[in-house]
Symmetry: C2
Subunit: 199 residues, 2 copies
Amino acid sequence: MPVDGEPPVPSSPRKRADARRNERVLLDAAAEVFVTSGVEAPVRDIATKAGVGMGTIYRHFPTRADLIIAVYRHQVDACAEAGPALLANNESPYDALSQWIDLFVDFLVTKHGLAGVMRSDHAGFEALHAYFLDRLVPVCAQLLKAAARTDEVRADVDALELMRGVGNLCVSIGDDSHYDPRRMVGLLIAGLRQQPQSS
Amino acid sequence: MPVDGEPPVPSSPRKRADARRNERVLLDAAAEVFVTSGVEAPVRDIATKAGVGMGTIYRHFPTRADLIIAVYRHQVDACAEAGPALLANNESPYDALSQWIDLFVDFLVTKHGLAGVMRSDHAGFEALHAYFLDRLVPVCAQLLKAAARTDEVRADVDALELMRGVGNLCVSIGDDSHYDPRRMVGLLIAGLRQQPQSS
DNA sequence: GAACATACGGAGCGTTGTTCCGTTTCGCAA
DNA sequence: TTGCGAAACGGAACAACGCTCCGTATGTTC
């Protein structure tokens, strides 16, 4: 009996070759469709683009959120890992926080519709939501706590709440050039600063 | 020939009695369904509740947004009219602005799902969007300009943009008790303040 | 190459928004 | 009162969508 040397990370039992290939094809097709039609593109479109049937999509990614997660996992992870690095490279934790938020905002606004789906109350997106939050909230909390410790920001703001607020600010409507998520988030983060001492 | 003493406000030509009655019934039913199921409730539900057919709804309110507008028109108008009053009754325009935003936020968060639909990119909601903005943005602009004139807030913020930001912050997800739109909007408005003079 | 598990495809179901048109009802006038 | 045309009604029907299900095809293994 051959010893199974695989680390526990990947899809545990050996998968058939065509299945593995289709997973890649799907991921690529989805990524492509997402940039042209947004993350809310019809599942059928993705299946067509990938040249597979509906069933194949749903077998690989039981819910649409799982597909989105898979497509963006790398970028989310990169964002999460940037947090501690920024904290180490900045004298001011507030600056680190601010830069990290910029990173997060860049990620959201460049993925057409991602922010919109994050706030979605549509059923089936809990997994997406949970993944993003699980991965990013702790990082945000760390940055926030550091900035609170140096009295640069208020201490009464919750990381989860802040992330939600930033996410909400990043949903943009159509092609309105008057609305700039980055500026609005900038305002929010500015509002976070500790007021020196008001009465 | 009888003089038409009607003000120019209501639906211009005389409508049939049953049509007028149904419009009222629909408005009431819609308002009721909106509070229980949110503004995204299926049109069929509203029709059923009102005891009318689908066709009747769409004849009175060509798009769903028109129905929502009709239901909330009074409250939007009240909010718009509160702006100048607040400006007159407050020494600080910033306080007036802040209180007006509170009013607006209260309106949004008490209407389950309204904020969500405001930011919607779904087709057919342009009318709703336009109505809200047409009615409220000028008021906001007035308050903002007054506050900018007294150097209480930055001068580089657009009223439309601010309204969008506030609206976005007000969409809440499910029943999450961790997210308080009012607090987030508070941060945003705090961020609006003119920094005394940073380098 | 035979046999079995695995994976595939797409027809089909349920749910929504919206349209369309045959039927009913209203309002007015003879 | 009765008759008639216009106005309004109701709900069947269509389209678009997410998701499921199962008969078929294809790897994989011996």
